[in-house]
Structure formats: structure tokens, C-alpha cells
């Protein structure tokens, strides 16, 4: 027996820490890592709900698997863009990438 709020608090904590990381880290790779934290928070939720509801078709767990897969794809894309930027600009500090504005 596990009280659901405990699990959800854990996930909310991960999510918030992830948000902080996305907003406050200037290194693009660290931002990507923070996004992973947010996505993991989602997965914790999904798995917990799936078990709470005793979902017969396990939609929550399947959803979590899809999120993991998509996260992997996103990381790949993100890193490709980061490397591209590094090659052209010699920096991956996000706040220095500001040619386009106004």
C-alpha cells in the first residue's frame, strides 16, 4: 500500500526542479537534462495512476513507454541542433544565442 499523494508529490517535485533547470541553466545540454526530469515526472504520474486505477488495458504504463520513446527522439533532435550551433557559433550557452529578436 502506497499513499498516492506521496507519489504525486515526488513527481511534482521532479517537475518543478526540471522547470527551474530549464529556466536557470544556460548550458543547452543541461537544459535538455532538465527537460528529461520534467518528462520523467509525467511518467511517474502515468505509472502511478495506471496502478491506482488498475487499468485493464494499462493505458498509463503504455503511455509512459511512449513518452520515454518520444523523449529519446527529442533528445536526439535537441543534441543535433546543439551540436550544429556549437559548430557555427562555438558556444552552447542559450542566452548567447540571440541573433533573432524584436
Amino acid at each position: 500500500m502506497i499513499r498516492l499523494p506521496l507519489v504525486l508529490f515526488f513527481s511534482a517535485g521532479l517537475f518543478s526542479v526540471g522547470v527551474y533547470g530549464v529556466l536557470a541553466r544556460r548550458n543547452a545540454v543541461l537544459v535538455l537534462m532538465s527537460i528529461e526530469l520534467m518528462l520523467n515526472a509525467v511518467n511517474v504520474n502515468l505509472v502511478a495512476f495506471s496502478q491506482l486505477l488498475r487499468d485493464t488495458i494499462l493505458a498509463g504504463q503504455v503511455f509512459a513507454l511512449f513518452v520515454i520513446t518520444v523523449a529519446a527522439a527529442e533528445v536526439g533532435i535537441g543534441l543535433a541542433i546543439v551540436i550544429l550551433i556549437y559548430r557555427n557559433r562555438e558556444t552552447i550557452n542559450i542566452d548567447e544565442v540571440n541573433l533573432l529578436k524584436w
Binding site: 536557470a24 529519446a72 542559450i94
Partner: protein, 163 residues
């Protein structure tokens, strides 16, 4: 508190602690290692919640693949070290926003699920497979297209040359 809860709380505290260290670390490689810890703890919670298959996938894909990918790119981009190099100028507002979100979510969760209890029931891996191929075939096929697109696109962008 049941034994499962105790294990969960321990995993959760370690996981959250690692997460916090991840976003505050002054060395990128350390940050990556904290990420590994954090993700592993999340995997552990899946085990506590008796979702074994998801737990294995978590460890395999995240710890095994994604983190390695991140580490590689850190090496490729010669990541610097130190707070100024890793953090931008909006730490204060970011912390406020994060705390605001945390407070809001906590309130909502407490309000809606105060008395909910999970009785973890081991999920057989086979059931997950059945569900994917019976109920979620179409998304599964679409995800394969998505992965292919991400793969090819990432290669195109990351390779050095132009046609």
C-alpha cells in the same frame, strides 16, 4: 507507513536530491551523473509501483542510452565549468516560478487525491505487450516513423558537410 512506502520515500528523497544537485551543479559531468542517479531512482519507484517492464525500459533507455548521448555531446562541446558558465542571470525568478508551480501542484494533488491509496499489483510484461499491440498499435507505428524521422534528421543536422 507500509514498508513499500518507506522504500518509496527513500527512493524519492534520493531522486529529488539528485535532481536538485543536477540543476545546481557547477560541473557538467557531475550534473550528468546526478541525472543518472535521479533517473535510476525514478526507475526504482516504478519497481515499487510494480511496473516492472516500464522500470526496465527506463533503465535501458534513459540510463543506458540517453545519458550516454548527453555525455558524448558534453565532450563534443567542451563544456566549461563553474557557476557563471552554467547558470544564467535569472536564477531568482526561475526559483520563484518553480516554487509557484510546486505549490500549485501540491495544492491540487492534496485537494483531489487526499485519500487515494495504491495497492501495487505486479504487471506481467506480457500484458503490456498485449496492450501495446492490441490497443495502441497505431500510435506504436506512428512512433516508429517519428523515431526514423528524428534519426535521419539528427544525422543530417549533426554531420559536418553540406551537399
Amino acid at each position: 507507513m507500509s514498508s513499500q512506502e518507506i522504500v518509496f520515500v527513500v527512493l524519492g528523497i534520493v531522486g529529488l536530491g539528485a535532481a536538485v544537485r543536477l540543476v545546481t551543479a557547477r560541473n557538467v559531468v557531475h550534473a550528468a551523473l546526478y541525472l543518472v542517479v535521479s533517473l535510476a531512482m525514478v526507475g526504482g519507484t516504478y519497481l515499487v509501483l510494480a511496473a516492472e517492464f516500464v522500470a526496465f525500459v527506463q533503465v535501458l533507455i534513459y540510463v543506458g542510452a540517453i545519458v550516454v548521448l548527453l555525455l558524448f555531446s558534453l565532450m563534443l562541446t567542451r563544456a566549461p565549468i563553474g557557476r557563471e558558465a552554467l547558470d544564467n542571470q535569472q536564477r531568482g525568478i526561475s526559483a520563484l516560478v518553480a516554487l509557484g508551480i510546486l505549490a500549485g501542484l501540491a495544492f491540487l494533488i492534496q485537494d483531489a487525491f487526499r485519500d487515494a491509496r495504491i495497492e501495487p499489483d505486479a504487471t506481467p510484461t506480457g500484458a503490456v505487450g498485449v496492450s501495446i499491440f492490441q490497443n495502441f498499435v497505431l500510435p506504436f507505428e506512428l512512433v516508429s516513423v517519428l523515431l526514423l524521422a528524428a534519426l535521419i534528421g539528427a544525422v543530417v543536422l549533426a554531420r559536418k558537410d553540406l551537399p
